[in-house]
Symmetry: C2
Subunit: 629 residues, 2 copies
């Protein structure tokens, strides 16, 4: 285990009292925040370096020199730059210092904004909500007679999102001059260059056309930032927007987007922690930058503190569903020239890079524009293509919810593939933990929803969706690697509404799906046998919004204790299909059902922590099943 | 009953063969289409005159002079101008003439676009999907080697919708010059002037900034239209947009928006049929316009055909929930100065005009921008206000679905009020029949969903939402007047998850909610008693996503036949809450549940027709319940 280094509170205090210009102080402060953001991310094992670093000079400037706290408000609309923001708040003493060590841990600092944390002013979702939220705040402040300036940071990829433009006009019309928006224009969105994904055109002209006062400047040049911010104060009756040209990963040479080569398709430091070597190299560079500056001021070099990196659980043999999906998709595409793929700036995470490389003319990168993507898929389907549409499940099921229904009313065939489905990973927090998608889409007419439980079932499920049904489908994919203790029967085929037994048992029966919770049920069955001599039958039912009543009637025959297990809120999950099925079949004996699933807004934390706190790990399940029996 | 007049097919044929310029022919054609659109709307009893008339000159020009059918495509993105489009298609012989008499009738011409009708190319939803759909079509056409131009009509209020802007950029970047968008810029959205709702600013600059080729012209001047369309053909590598300045209601002097006085808040001819007097006056004016033009050409005057207007069912004593809501809202606002109201351009339909008049500073008209509205409400709630957010249920539950969830994760309190909920009215068609909203929102954490069953329960429900729960709520409101045969007990109070018996009966029990289907259940109970001596207990359970298990256990005690009745798809409706409740309680005897509700995409038609075809009228329910028992 290597040691991880961070800048202690005392050093931030020293920097704040150095007799230097605001510009120099902020430069020192921001670099120290970079060290701490990198520390927090490395310790957490994940987090967004690129946009934390690109925005840190701006955010540091605002907190050190502009905001009148708590009267004024700053928040980020993109949200994934939050490790940087935490570092700033901690350096300012606005958040307890020790929370730096708790990024993405249970009861720690969430992976995306949550207002339960001091000075975090709004929660974020997919993207594009920030200006709308700010407008609501301004209208409330005006009505309640409060004076407060509101600073909103947005991404640049975020500008592809319709709500951003939807929110601009009335702020302009109503002269909401309390609002200052700063675009962290670092030119790279999640996967690659913004201009390659969906070029933004002439932003200055656009914003001006919507009635905003526009400035453009370098987001790393404090002298200019100071002047621009001063100038903004003289502008009244118009909301203000600053296009801040920044560099993604700014501060560590090899993390800077400018270090990317022309051939390089993917930026490597958008999310995720660097390996030990890159971490060490990065922190050395940041420390050296700070010390150079301190030396030039005749000040002492930085004193850092250290903590050992956390032990990671030993890696078992894990199944990865996304690579299995990538491969299955290519195999299907080879057989079907009508198959086209649409993506909303998550090509890497959704496993689409191999497809894009092999079928570039059939790959449509839509940018962060889920509604546009889904309606484009609608148009394509009307004209004879078979679109397969991708995003994270949390966004795909909700942002274009009406567009998916609209397509359904046209009765064309479209496959929606939602990755990052379910409670885990727990690190990104509730905006990314998709545990409401079944409910949000279950009633879309004709939509068949399916979640595979292992790599092999991924390929079967995609084959089913494409070739064995005339209906549109929603393929729900877990993104984390999972240890799979069961094997599907060798002759297993997907049949709509029917499941397959993974473990036999005559005392009780549990229905579940997917590679996160079925293994927990499987292990729970082993524990129940060992500890309580209770024999639990474990059934994989991959269908999320339909159950075959004949099959259900047969499989529950003789069982009085029925359990359901949802990687979803326990309302409108698979549990409701089973309950409805049982009630429709009509039951003769005392049958009782108990639902396991998510009861409250998901917690942020490491995967095992999060499973445990929601009582969905094998031990908790076994205990609760034993108690119920 | 007055007679309704229409222009027969023979007259369209005569106009098409008159030896006149394309401009004069189109003028004649468009005016005849206005007569027929007005006829169809008057006969249907509802429909959109204003935007049919504002767009008819453009649509007529396209079909007579521009489109190469079936190669090229025209569709409307706003969709409610469809009576005008039907008239054009029928005049061209592209739709059977007799369908003119079937607007908004079962198996007739739907109230909004549906691709089951020839030459209707896409279905519409809330607004703003058109360009995205067109882009998808172009990409499909290019991939499949087809050459086709695509003309899309949009509204101007529609430009407030974020997806519109979301869809612009990549069309510009990718040079999709097959697309021509025409903005029917009639300056009035659903309720009133666009500039009063959310002014659009300099549209030419905006569109140009997104990389589109822009023209602006009068949408009623055929000479100019001809020139603009010719010029567009020379533009390559860019999508094209024409801002067509039009007059809402164009063609009938008193329906024209220009006839509105400065003080007039509401435009009267957006939707709904005119009364007999205004109909007659309107058609006379249109006929005279046509005949003047024919006289100037030395041609015979128009020969019209007539049909008597349809009999409307005798008006019974009806309860109207929206006015009851208006009144309750004002009473609440008088007691709570934190209460603010947000609207998305449906102030009249949602019953908000009285509130706006009495509390103008607490009324926020957000325009057709549901996502922005909901996130603004989020910001307001964070800053201490109690926002009550309005739109039609079909839009409110879906378009800002993620934004509602995002607000929920902040645990602020917001009331969402969805009007036009449920299957009826049947005339507008499936885009407006909100039968998926319970599913779409049921799993939003902490959201309490409630639907009142009569005017009195509206006031109780609003009071509950505002004053008797700390949670956010979704208030689901039926907009059509309903005959209510039951009375709530005088001491009735809403208790979360509990219902109230409307009719006693010991043979079976049915759960339902709302003023549309509970009366059907009530009458079904009477029929069952008379015809089959079956005694059905009818229970009003106003809670849509929660049922109190103790209450449920008590009320179903002794019943073996349990029925549920959803004004919603039967997946993820109230039925699932009851089924889940029964399964959790544990069933002691042979209990069987049967679900009534909507099984397929709702049909368009008159209310009684639509209830009947979905087998949700009292007679069908009685028959099906008897059969099940």
């Amino acid at each position: 285990m290597i040691d991880l280094q961070f800048v202690p509170q005392s050093e931030f205090k020293r920097i704040k009292t150095l007799n230097v210009s605001p510009e120099v102080r902020t430069a020192l402060y921001a670099t120290c925040c970079r060290i701490n953001a990198l520390y927090a991310i490395k310790r957490a094992g994940s987090g967004h370096i690129g946009s934390s670093f690109s925005s840190l000079d701006i955010v540091s400037w605002l907190f050190l020199n502009e905001l009148r706290l708590p009267q004024d408000i700053y928040f980020s609309s993109k949200g994934h730059d939050i490790p940087g923001l935490y570092a700033v708040l901690i350096g300012m003493g606005l958040l307890e210092f020790d929370r730096l060590h708790t990024l993405r841990r249970l009861d720690g600092l969430p992976g995306h904004p949550d207002i339960s944390i001091p000075y975090i002013e709004t929660n974020t979702g997919s993207l594009g909500m920030g200006i709308s939220k700010a407008k609501g705040m301004v209208r409330a402040n005006r009505l309640l007679g409060r004076e407060s300036k509101i600073y909103v940071l947005t991404g640049d990829g975020e500008l592809q999102e319709g709500q951003f433009w939807e929110s601009l006009q009335s702020a302009g019309n109503d002269g909401l001059d309390e609002i200052t928006v700063i675009v962290d224009h670092n030119k790279i969105q999640s996967d690659t260059w913004v201009e390659k994904v969906s070029d933004l055109g002439d932003l200055q002209k656009k914003f001006a056309a919507f009635g905003w006062y526009v400035e453009r400047c370098c987001g790393h040049d404090f002298n200019t930032l100071a002047k621009v911010m001063a100038r903004l104060k003289t502008v009244t009756n118009r909301p203000k927007i600053v296009i801040a040209d920044t560099i993604k990963g700014k501060g560590v040479s090899f993390m800077e987007s400018t270090a990317m080569t022309a051939e390089q398709r993917l930026y490597r430091f958008h999310s995720g922690a660097p390996n030990d070597e890159l971490y060490t190299k990065g922190v050395e560079e940041l420390v050296e930058t700070t010390n150079m500056l301190l030396r030039s001021l005749d000040a002492e070099p930085l004193t850092l503190e250290k903590l050992p990196a956390l032990e990671r659980p030993a890696i078992k043999e894990l199944q990865k569903l996304i690579p299995a999906y990538s491969q299955a998709l290519i195999e299907q595409a080879q057989q079907n020239s009508q198959l086209v793929v649409l993506d909303a700036d998550l090509a890497l995470d959704c496993g689409l890079i191999p497809f894009e490389e092999q079928f570039p003319e059939r790959f449509f990168e839509c940018g962060i524009a889920e509604q546009d993507m889904v309606s484009q898929a609608g148009g394509m389907a009307l004209k004879g293509l078979l679109p397969v549409v991708h995003s994270f499940a949390c966004f795909l099921s909700t942002r274009p919810n009406e567009q998916i229904y609209n397509n359904a009313t046209e009765k064309t065939k479209i496959i929606y593939v939602g990755s990052l489905a379910g409670l885990l990973p727990g690190g990104p927090g509730h905006s990314h933990q998709s545990v409401r998608d079944i409910s949000a889409l279950a009633a879309v007419p004709g939509l068949q929803m399916v979640e595979p439980s292992c790599a092999r079932e991924v390929s079967l499920a995609l084959d089913y969706c494409l070739n064995h049904t005339s209906q549109s489908c929603y393929l729900r994919l877990v993104s984390i690697p999972c240890e799979i203790p069961y094997q599907l029967p060798t002759d297993y085929q997907l049949e709509w509404g029917k499941g397959v037994t993974l473990a036999e048992g005559e005392d009780a029966i549990i229905f579940g799906y997917g590679p996160v919770l079925l293994p927990q049920a499987y292990y729970a069955a082993e524990l129940l046998k060992q500890k309580y001599d209770i024999k639990l039958k474990v059934v994989n039912l991959p269908w999320l919004n339909y159950v075959d009543l004949d099959w259900l009637g047969q499989i529950v025959q003789g069982y009085q204790k029925i359990f359901t297990l949802d990687n979803h809120y326990i309302i409108s999950g698979q549990c409701d299909r089973i309950a409805s099925g049982l009630a429709e079949i009509g039951l003769l004996e005392k049958v009782q059902m108990k639902k396991f699933g998510i009861l409250e807004i998901p917690k942020c934390g490491q995967n095992s922590e999060v499973l445990r706190v929601h009582r969905l790990d094998a031990e908790s399940l076994a205990a609760d099943i034993a108690a119920a029996i």
